[in-house]
Amino acid sequence: MTNIYFFLGKGGVGKTTISSAWAAGLAKIGRKTLLVSLDPAHTLSDALNVMVTGRIKRISDSLDATEIDIDQMIQDYLQDVSTTMKSTYRYLSTLNIDRYFNILKNSPGVEEYAILEGIKEFVSKDEYDIIVFDTPPAGMMVRVLGMPRVSLVWTESLIAMRRKILSRRRMIENVQGRFEADVGGEKVVLTSEEKEDPVMQELVSYKNEMEALRNLFSSQSCKVSIVTMAEELALSETERIIGALKEFYIPVEKVYLNKYMRIENPPEEIIGKIEEQGSVVMRMKEELKGIDIIEIPMLRSSPRGVEVLLALYRDYLKEGEKV
């Protein structure tokens, strides 16, 4: 079974670096690994020093990587639906359908939907032992991970409503025979059978997909970690992420305290910062019981390239030095 790793956190805390190092490390020990960046900020290519946007690129023997282009995905998908509709339903030309799609393109939730579609596509690939996801900033990613549960509430209500529609059609059929209606200027036979109704079929298949993703996100094979820093605001954000994920029954496995400052005799200018760091770590240990907290020190320079990322894995992530 493929193991899935998600690295969440607010912008700029080092999610791409940590997730890339983790993927590079697991690939080095022979696990066939795919590293996927879902972040529209596109920083994975920079971390790996290899352009991976829009395609899966071989990085080393066991490591592949890609960075999905969310905007392009949304554009392509809506274009496909729009073309199908225009060719299928002639009467829709009077509705100026392009206008509807422009609204859809900018409607709330469409980015989250595209990201979820991306995740669905990658987790269905069975050639990998490990899939590591570098994610967009936490607020959006929490909504993505929670979307299957929210979608199921809507889908189940719509299925119940659709059943009422089909049952009324059946009643009319029982008295009148086949139920015909005028659709787009043509007489069309409307089905009352669930298995023949395309709307019901879409609802049921969407429900099955969302159930599979909901179960995957809460399963043992899906591991969610948070990358953060030892600062008051970052701690509050981390607690909010953990709380929000808990509502969706998604446990957090590890918290990585990135850019941790280990200085024996700190200069006066940063003494306050070091003290804040110490008190945040103490509070974290108390408040995040059951979650491993791992510190990664502030490095002399930003890690770039697989070899440097591998060293980061070896030095700090492999054993998971707990605070």
């Binding site: 639906v81 299928t88 979608s151 719509l158 409503m161 009324r168 009643m171 787009g184 969407y206």
Partner: protein, 92 residues
Amino acid sequence: MRNLFEVIKGFFKGVDRGMREVSTSLIQNELEEYENAFALLTMGFLSGLPSPPTGLVIRLFPHMQREIQVMMSKSSGLFDAFGSTMGKFSVD
């Protein structure tokens, strides 16, 4: 004689069809209301209503031909909603 039979048969067939249509007219109205509500719920993003996840809307959109049409025809008759309700119950 045969022609007369056909005429009488046709007459009764017409009466039968008419009665069947009358007997289901309220169910048809109810059906249209459900279809209208289904379209409004799934396409609420167009009018500011709470809407299902966009992914679901996008997937349903291509199959919603009938419901979109019902919704449009219902909304075009909204200026006389009272009259249309009375009409359904044959109140002149």
